[in-house]
Every structure is written in C-alpha cells, then in structure tokens.
Symmetry: C2
Subunit: 240 residues, 2 copies
Amino acid sequence: MAQGGVYDYTVSQYVVDFSGEATWTSLLNYILEAAGDDADRNGFGVTDLNAGNCSWVLRRMAAEITRRLHRSEEFSVRTWVSEVNRTGTVRNMTVTGSDGCVVAQAVTQWAVIDVERRVALDLRGRVDCSYAIVDEPSPIAMPARVGIVEPTRIREYEVVYSDTDFNNHVNAIRYMVWMVDTLPMEYVAGRQLRRIDVNFLHEAVHGQRLSIGFEAGEKSLFAIDDENGTTLCRAALEWK
Amino acid sequence: MAQGGVYDYTVSQYVVDFSGEATWTSLLNYILEAAGDDADRNGFGVTDLNAGNCSWVLRRMAAEITRRLHRSEEFSVRTWVSEVNRTGTVRNMTVTGSDGCVVAQAVTQWAVIDVERRVALDLRGRVDCSYAIVDEPSPIAMPARVGIVEPTRIREYEVVYSDTDFNNHVNAIRYMVWMVDTLPMEYVAGRQLRRIDVNFLHEAVHGQRLSIGFEAGEKSLFAIDDENGTTLCRAALEWK
C-alpha cells in the first residue's frame, strides 16, 4: 500500500515579508514543489510526462493555513494521491512546522494535457499513477467553484519572462502573487489568510496583458482576465 | 584561522525558465542566501544586526557564470569574508555544481545602515566580523562602477508587496529580475550571461513607480530611476 511522500524544506530568507514570516504564496509554492518532487519520485512527474509530449496542469487548488512559517524554519510537506480517474488526479498536502504542529493543509486537482495542443487528455493508457493511491481522505474540503467576480479594483499587468518556467508555462503561484499584489498594502498587513480556493481556467502566456480584478466582501474575490475578456483564473480568499 | 562556510541547496523546479535551466537571477538569489546564512551562523547576520537597529545593505555585486544549473540539481555555495574595513565588508562566493565543477563566482560589497534613518554607519564598535576574515583573494575582479545609462527602451514598473522582504526592504535580486524582464524575450532566449556588475545606489520602496531603462551595446546597460529621476540601481551585463 502506498504511503505518500514526505519532503523537507527550510524557509528561504527571501520569501518572508515585512512581518518576518513567510508569505502565504511562498508556502503554497513549497506545497506544489512537494507535489512535483513526489510525482517525479513516483515516475509520473513532469519530466516523465514531457517524454510523451504531455504535462500536468493544475485545475483547482484549496489550502487552509493555521499559521505562517518563520524565517529559516525547517518544515516538512507530506503529500499523497487520494484519487485517480479518467480526467485527472487529486493530490493532498499537509505541512508540519518545526514545532511538530500542522501549519497548513491543501488539496489539488490535476489534469494531463497535450503539450502542443494544450488540450486535456484521458489519463487511461497514458499515465499510470493508480499504484500511488493512498486510502486516506483529503484533509480539507475540495476546492470550491468560484463564480463571477465584479471587481471594484483592477490592476493591469503584462506577463514577463520571470513569470514563466519550463514549457513557457506560467507557474500557478504567480497568479496568486498577482492577486495579492493588487491588494492595498494595509489590506495585506492587517489580515491572515484562512482559506483560499483557486480555479485555473485558461493558461496565461508570456507578453499577454492581463486585468487583475478584486472584489471586496465577506471573502476577497479575484478574477484574472486576458485582453479579450476571457477569464484565466478566479479565486476566493477567506481571512481570519 | 577562519575558513568560510559551505551551504548546500537543490534547484527548485520553479526557478527554471523555458530552457529547463535555472535563471541566472535565481542563481544570484542562492548566492545571497548563502551569504545571509553564513552571516547568521557567524553571529553578524541581519537578525543580530536588527537587534541593534542596524542592517546590512548590498552596495555592489559582481558575478561570473560558467554554466547554468539544471532543474533539481544539487549544488553548494562556499562563501567567505575577505575584507572588513570601517565602511563595510567584502564577501565572496563560489558555486559548485553536481559535477564538482565551479559554475559561478561572485564578489559582493556590503555596508551597515541604521534601519530607521537608512544612513550608512561606521562598522567599528557596532559589528565585529574581523574574526571571520579568510586570507584568500576574491575569485573574480571587484564590482565595477557603472556609469550613466542612455536607455533605448524603458519599462514602467510599480513596486509591489511581493518585491519586499523583512524591513520592507526590496530584495536585491528583484532589481535584476526587473531588468531581465525589460528585455525582449528573444534577447533573453538567445544569450547566456557571462558577467554582471551591479551598483545599488538608493533603495526602492513599496508603491514607488520606477522606470527601468535598457541601453543595448557591447554590454547591456540598465538604470532604474524613481519618479524624481533619482537613479536607484545601475548594472552592466556582459553576454557570452
């Protein structure tokens, strides 16, 4: 029976914000890093899939954060696959801080796409990751669908070289960085994130001019649109 | 006799670009991370200095890159102090890749500032790091002064939350990320950096609107100016 994998990291001094604690976007970055490391270790990572002209894409993500990590803190991310079906996988993560307490939990939904055509593929016969399934439920509720956003604040942004990684792919965390950077500083400074739900709808590409829209309310809602008004990503943030 | 310190890292999957190799800005980030880790270990790190209301600032930096690191590559950064004087220190770094070969070398010049007043301080009586001096010269030529830049391409940029770290300080590497993101993609894609010289003149702050100017020539020159035309940072990049 598969057990999942545990990956150790140390908080880089460059991912802390003015408070001296790691940004929540950097925590989510470590979470996705662990998912990638684990898929690599299990033989169905991006490199393995690229050999067959496929790649993983993140469809939806939810995370709940109990406390932020501090500068130079050693922590671990445990990750396991809880579901594999025709259209994708569910991968889960639990982050444990240096005090032995769970500081964050996440659940992510992934699909496989054809790298050239950027369309979703049927996993069957292409990627076998069923042997990695762990009989353990997701630690938090599945990512919610985020509906239409009516922005009260909009920031224009052009996708640059440093937003992209392998395959000219924009790193999923960048969308969330663009969102948090759209908020007024006093808004960020006065709040701790409790839960985030993100829906990735279409990929952003280098050179694209985006509108990052923010709607304040009980939850902070975000929508990232391209020049043609197509929504690429939506998110709902719930603060403590 | 001090020996300097060696710090081990693994290339994160999120710091590679379209080529699958780590960006040179991420390599410089690891270099500065090692300098910070080493200063911490020696008792004159940012945390130690902050207790006395002081902090290190990077004045000038030069780096030469032989080859870029690849995704998930394990590498080490050796760092040592070669000089301490009234106004600051010289810290050096040598990066060794998983093949045992030197892939990059750097030399950095640091000063101590008063955190509140943001002015340079005399190290004497404040910070003792003379015991860390290693009798070994810098591995490459000291950072050169970069003169006036006459931009042929200008990008406007507003400093956001994610550009800052502890003390609301803009991470030194961000200035270089802003520069590389000002270049056309085909310019970045077709070139490998050989050497960079950076002069940090004034600090950028959150919310500031900057102009990032690029002058093409034998070397790629950059100047980052604030709204008042004050130059905050200049750099000269030499390609292979």
